[in-house]
C-alpha cells in the first residue's frame, strides 16, 4: 500500500489503517446522523484553498456506458458518470462502516433477518417525485421484475422475503435467511424515480430517468458526450462528501475518448480538464509536471490473476502450478511492463481491502528458478524438445491462456507475453498466450479446454471471493480454476453467515493461504487501479470511499 502513496502526486487517498469494528452492529439501532459531522479526515490532504462555485468542467473518459440506467449498468468504468445523477440509501466509509445518505438511519434485527431503513424527508427526484418509502419499495420490486431486470431475481434479492413501506419514511425488509452482503447491496442500489419505470426507454436510461443527484442528466450524444447541469435544490450529500448543499460546478460534460493517447493529448492541450485511465508508461509526464495533478487508487475485489485449470491438462498437477509461479520473477516483469506504476498482488483479495487482504502471504512464494525446475522434474516433465521446452512422453509442456480481447486493457497482453518469456527461459514451460474474441474464450472455458484463465474483478466485501471459490453451481460464477474442494465451501459459508468482520476475515485468511500458497490454484499478478489526471486548476477530484472507483464531480471546483 505504501507504493501507492509514494507514487501519488496529487491529493492522496489514504484509508485509515485501523479497522473499524463491524460493518453493522447486531441489534443496535444505529442512528447514524452523528457521523455526518465531517468527511473522512485523512482523505484529501491538499486542496486547502476555499472552494469557488461556478464554471464548467470537461472530463475525458475511456468507457461509454452501454446503458445509462444505473440499476442495469454493470460497468465499473462508467460508475463515475452515473454517480452524479443517481444516489443510494447508504454510503460506506473507507473502513467499510456505513453512514447515512438518502436513509437517515437503519437498523438490523437481532436475528439479522429484518432490515429497517428510515428515509430523509427532504429528498426529491428531478422530476418532482418525492423520495418516500413507497418509492424505495417500488425500486426494489422492479429489480425482481424479469422484464425490467433479468438478473435481479437471481442476485442478493433472492434472499429477500418481503419489502414493505411501513410508513411514509420507513422501509422494512425481511430476509429468508442470513446473508451478510445484503446490506451493501440494498445500501448501494442507485434509486430512480418511480415514474421512470413507466417510460419506454427506462432500460436504455437517459435524461428521462430521474434521480436525486447533485447533477441533472440533460443530454446524451451517443459516441460523443454526456452532459449534466447543477441540481440547484440538492441538499442531501452523504457524510463521506467534503461539503454539503449544491454542487460547485454549473455544468459538467464527459467526453468519450476511448484511445488513451488521444485522452492524454486532449488533457495536455487543455481541451479537457480531467481524464481517467492513464497507461503506466505515461504516468510520469503528469506526476512530474506542476501543471497537473495525478492520483491513483487500487481497485477493490480480486487482483488480476492467472487461474490454473485444475480439471484438465498439465495444470491439474499442483507441482506444475507451483513450478509455473516459481519460474516467474514477477517484480521484474511488472517493473519492465508498467515502468514501476503497478502494485504487485499476493493474495486472492485486493491489497486495498483492509479487512480481508492477507498480508502474511507477501514474499512467501515465487521467483525461485531452481525450485521450479526441481518440481517439474518430479512431476515427470524431464524431456526437452528441439525448441528447449520440457516434454513428458513426447508431449510438450504447454499451458494455454485464451485472453479475451474485450478485456485486454492496461497492457495485459504485454504482461502475459513477458511472463511467457520468463517461464520459457527459466523452466522450459510453453505458455501459449492467444488473444481471441470473447466468444472463443467463452467456448474454451465451457469446454474446460485451457491451461490458465486470466481475470480480475472488483466486487468488494468478500463477494468476489465467493464468485471465484464456491462451486460453479453454488454461486461460484467465475470459479475459473474449476475447484470443487468442500473445504473452501466450509470457509465461505461460515463467512457468509456472520456480519462480524473479524470472524469473516479469519475464514477468508484460511482460504487465501490454501488456494494461493498450498494448492497454487491461482497466481495473483497485480492489482488493477484507477488513475485521475487533472489540470491543476481542478480541485476536489478523488475516489469514492470504500469502493475506490473515481468519484463524481460533486466536490469538484475550478480555481479562476
Amino acid at each position: 500500500m505504501s507504493a501507492t502513496s509514494a507514487r501519488s502526486h496529487g491529493p492522496l487517498r489514504r484509508r485509515p489503517a485501523a479497522l473499524a469494528a463491524t460493518a453493522l452492529s447486531v441489534s443496535a439501532a444505529l442512528v447514524l446522523a452523528a457521523c455526518s459531522g465531517g468527511a473522512d479526515a485523512g482523505t484529501k490532504a491538499s486542496d486547502s484553498a476555499t472552494p469557488q462555485a461556478g464554471g464548467t468542467l470537461t472530463w475525458g473518459v475511456e468507457t461509454e456506458p452501454v446503458t445509462l440506467n444505473p440499476q442495469l449498468n454493470g460497468q465499473d468504468k462508467t460508475k463515475l458518470l452515473l454517480r452524479n445523477a443517481y444516489e443510494q440509501l447508504l454510503a460506506r466509509q473507507d473502513d467499510g462502516t456505513y453512514v447515512p445518505w438518502l436513509a437517515s438511519a437503519y437498523k438490523v434485527s437481532d436475528d439479522e433477518l429484518t432490515y429497517t431503513f428510515t428515509l430523509r424527508d427532504d429528498v426529491t427526484f428531478w422530476d418532482g417525485e418525492k423520495l418516500d418509502a413507497a418509492a424505495v419499495v417500488t425500486n426494489l420490486k422492479q429489480q425482481l421484475n424479469p422484464k425490467y431486470n433479468p438478473y435481479g431475481a437471481a442476485g442478493p434479492l433472492s434472499h429477500l422475503k418481503s419489502a414493505t413501506a411501513t410508513d411514509d419514511r420507513t422501509v422494512t425488509l425481511v430476509l429468508k435467511e442470513k446473508y451478510a452482503p445484503f446490506l451493501d447491496y440494498v445500501g448501494s442500489l442507485p434509486l430512480i424515480s418511480p415514474k421512470s419505470y413507466a417510460k419506454a426507454d427506462v432500460q436504455a436510461g437517459g435524461p428521462d430517468i430521474a434521480g436525486t443527484g447533485p447533477f441533472v442528466l440533460t443530454k446524451y450524444v451517443k459516441g460523443q458526450e454526456l452532459d449534466f447541469t447543477k441540481n440547484k435544490d440538492y441538499a442531501w450529500a452523504p457524510a463521506t462528501a467534503k461539503h454539503q448543499g449544491a454542487a460547485y460546478l454549473d455544468a459538467l460534460t464527459y467526453r468519450f475518448l476511448p484511445e488513451s493517447s488521444v485522452r492524454l493529448g486532449a488533457l495536455q492541450s487543455g481541451q479537457v480538464d480531467v481524464i481517467e485511465g492513464v497507461p503506466g508508461t505515461q504516468a510520469a509526464q503528469f506526476q512530474k509536471n506542476g501543471a497537473f495533478t495525478y492520483q491513483t487508487a487500487l481497485n477493490t475485489g480480486t487482483p488480476y490473476s492467472l487461474y490454473f485449470n485444475t480439471l484438465s491438462g498439465p495444470t491439474s498437477d499442483v507441482k506444475v502450478r507451483e513450478a509455473f509461479r516459481d519460474a516467474v520473477d514477477l517484480d521484474a516483469v511488472l517493473k519492465s511492463v508498467y515502468a514501476g506504476q503497478r502494485t504487485r498482488a499476493w493474495s486472492a483479495v485486493s491489497p486495498e481491502d483492509p479487512s480481508f487482504y492477507d498480508k502474511s502471504l507477501e514474499g512467501t512464494y515465487g521467483n525461485d528458478k531452481d525450485a521450479a525446475n526441481k518440481l517439474l522434474d518430479e512431476a515427470g516433465w524431464t524431456g526437452r524438445d528441439s525448441d528447449g521446452y520440457r516434454t513428458k512422453d513426447g508431449k510438450r509442456l504447454t499451458i494455454t491462456d485464451y485472453q479475451s480481447q474485450p478485456y485486454v486493457r492496461d497492457q495485459r497482453d504485454t504482461l502475459l507475453q513477458a511472463i511467457q518469456a520468463q517461464v520459457k527461459q527459466n523452466a522450459g514451460i510453453d505458455f501459449d498466450v492467444q488473444v481471441v474474441d470473447s466468444g472463443v474464450s467463452d467456448e474454451h472455458r465451457a469446454k474446460n479446454d485451457y491451461g490458465t484463465y486470466d481475470n480480475s474483478n472488483t466486487n468488494p466485501d468478500g463477494v468476489d471471493i465467493e464468485y471465484h471459490w464456491l462451486p460453479a453451481d453454488k454461486g461460484g460464477f467465475i470459479n475459473l480454476s474449476n475447484v470443487t474442494d468442500p473445504q473452501l465451501t466450509t470457509w465461505l459459508t461460515a463467512a457468509q453467515q456472520t456480519t462480524d468482520t473479524a470472524k469473516r476475515a479469519e475464514q477468508y485468511d484460511a482460504l487465501q493461504q490454501y488456494v494461493i500458497k498450498e494448492k497454487a490454484y491461482s497466481f495473483p499478478l497485480y492489482e488493477p487501479e484507477d488513475q485521475i489526471a487533472a489540470s491543476s486548476k481542478v480541485h476536489g477530484t478523488g475516489f469514492r470511499t470504500y469502493y475506490q472507483l473515481p468519484e463524481g464531480a460533486y466536490d469538484v471546483w475550478l480555481s479562476k
Partner: protein, 407 residues
C-alpha cells in the same frame, strides 16, 4: 431519374449505335420506355437480392461465430440458470435458429429492425440517430480524397519527376493505417497547434481532422488511377489538336483530360465507399465521434444481433445506391455510354478494358475505348475493377490498385 437520363441519351452522338442495336420498328416511340422500365425493374430486383443476401450472410456468420449471445448478454457473475432463462425468453433465443431467421425477415418486411439487445432501443432509432454524423464524415472524407487526388493527378501527370515524387507520397499514405494517421493529425493540429478540437461532431471545425484522416487513406489509389488516365489522354491526337488551337496546358488538363480520366475513377466509387465504411469505424473511434462505426463495433463485440444485421442492411443499401449513382454519373461523363440496350459481348469487353484503362480496343479510334456498354453492364462497378485481373499480362496496372487488390 434513371429513365429520364436513359431516354434522352440515344439522341446523342451515339444514335447510330442505338439504331444498330435496336432496329427501328414503326411505333417504337411508344415503346421506348419498355427497355428503360425493364432496366429499372432489374435494378430493383437486384437491390432486393443484395439486401436479402447481406442480411442472410450476416445472420449466418453470427450464428457460426464461436460463443453465444447469452454469454455476451449476461455478465459472468450473474449467469444463474434463472437469469439465463429470463434473457433467453426476453429475446426469443429459445426458438430454433431457422425460425429466428424467418421471424426476422417477416418483421423486416414490416419495416421492423428489432430492438438492440445491449442498448434496449429500437435498431431503427439507433441507426437513424447515428447516421447523420457518419454521412457527414464519409462525405467530407470522400471530398478530401477526390479534391486532393485531382490536384495531385492533374498537376503531376506527364511530368516525370513530379510524378515520381507524387507517386512516392501516395504509396506512403496508402500504406499508413488510418488509426495512426488520425493520431498523428491530432498531435500536430489539435494538441500542438490547437487549430482543431480533438473530438466530437460539433460543426465544421471538428470535421476537418477526421475527414482528412479518412480521405488521405483513399487519395493514393484515386490519384494513381486518375494520373494514368490523364497521361493517356494527353497522348491522344485530340490533345495535339487542342494544343494546336492554342489552349493552355492547364486548361487542356482540366477541361479535357480530366473528363476522360474520370470515368475509371467513377467506377472506383464502389470500392471507395467500401473503404469509407471501413475507415469510419476506426476514425470515429480515434476521434471520439458519434456514428454508425462506433455502434457497429460495439454490436459486433457484444453479439448484438439486431444491430449487426441493421448495419449490414444499411451497408448493402449504401452500395446499391452508390452503384446506381455511379452508373448514372458514367452516363453523364461519357456520352458514348448512352447507347441504350446494346448487349453485344464485344462492347462489354471494350467497356471493361476502358474502365481498367490500359488497353485500346482493336480497330477503333484511339479515344473510342468505351463504345456502348449496356447500362446494366455497370452493375457492381467494384467487380469491374476486379475484372481487371483478366487483363492481359504485361499491361501496366497502377501500383495502388495492385496494393488494394493484395489487401
Amino acid at each position: 431519374m434513371t429513365s429520364a437520363t436513359l431516354t434522352t441519351a440515344p439522341a446523342g452522338d451515339a444514335a447510330a449505335a442505338a439504331r444498330e442495336a435496336a432496329p427501328t420498328v414503326p411505333g417504337a416511340r411508344g415503346r421506348a420506355w419498355a427497355p428503360t422500365l425493364a432496366a429499372v425493374g432489374r435494378r430493383l430486383v437486384g437491390a432486393v437480392v443484395v439486401l436479402w443476401a447481406s442480411v442472410t450472410v450476416a445472420f449466418v456468420a453470427l450464428q457460426l461465430a464461436p460463443g453465444s449471445s447469452i454469454d455476451a448478454l449476461v455478465p459472468p457473475t450473474q449467469r444463474t440458470p434463472e437469469a439465463v432463462a429470463a434473457v433467453t425468453a426476453e429475446w426469443g433465443l429459445d426458438r430454433p435458429v431457422v425460425q429466428q431467421y424467418v421471424d426476422y425477415l417477416v418483421r423486416l418486411l414490416h419495416g421492423d429492425l428489432g430492438t438492440s439487445y445491449q442498448l434496449h432501443r429500437p435498431v431503427t432509432d439507433v441507426i437513424v440517430s447515428e447516421l447523420g454524423p457518419t454521412l457527414q464524415l464519409a462525405a467530407a472524407g470522400l471530398a478530401v480524397a477526390l479534391v486532393l487526388a485531382v490536384l495531385l493527378a492533374v498537376s503531376t501527370a506527364g511530368r516525370p519527376w513530379a510524378s515520381r515524387i507524387a507517386n512516392g507520397i501516395e504509396l506512403t499514405i496508402v500504406s499508413v493505417p488510418e488509426f495512426w494517421l488520425g493520431i498523428v493529425l491530432l498531435f500536430v493540429f489539435s494538441f500542438s497547434l490547437g487549430w482543431f478540437p480533438v473530438a466530437g461532431a460539433n460543426g465544421i471545425a471538428s470535421l476537418v481532422l477526421p475527414a482528412t484522416a479518412l480521405g488521405l487513406g483513399l487519395v493514393g489509389l484515386v490519384s494513381q488511377v486518375l494520373r494514368e488516365g490523364v497521361e493517356r489522354s494527353l497522348e491522344q491526337p485530340y490533345a495535339l489538336s487542342v494544343r494546336a488551337r492554342g489552349v493552355s496546358e492547364t486548361a487542356l488538363r482540366v477541361r479535357h483530360s480530366l473528363r476522360h480520366a474520370s470515368l475509371p475513377v467513377v467506377t472506383l466509387l464502389g470500392w471507395l465507399v467500401g473503404g469509407l465504411l471501413g475507415g469510419v469505424i476506426i476514425v470515429e473511434q480515434v476521434f471520439g465521434r458519434p456514428g454508425i462505426g462506433v455502434v457497429a463495433l460495439q454490436a459486433a463485440q457484444g453479439r448484438d444481433l439486431p444491430v449487426v444485421l441493421g448495419v449490414a442492411l444499411l451497408s448493402a443499401l449504401v452500395y446499391v445506391v452508390v452503384n446506381t449513382v455511379v452508373d448514372l454519373l458514367a452516363l453523364v461523363i461519357d456520352p458514348r455510354l448512352r447507347t441504350g440496350a446494346g448487349h453485344d459481348r464485344r462492347a462489354r469487353d471494350h467497356g471493361r478494358a476502358a474502365v481498367v484503362g490500359h488497353g485500346r480496343p482493336p480497330g477503333r479510334g484511339p479515344a473510342a475505348g468505351a463504345r456502348s456498354p449496356p447500362p446494366d453492364a455497370a452493375l457492381g462497378r467494384a467487380a469491374r475493377v476486379r475484372g481487371a485481373r483478366a487483363a492481359p499480362a504485361g499491361r501496366r496496372v497502377p501500383r495502388a490498385v495492385r496494393l488494394a487488390r493484395a489487401a
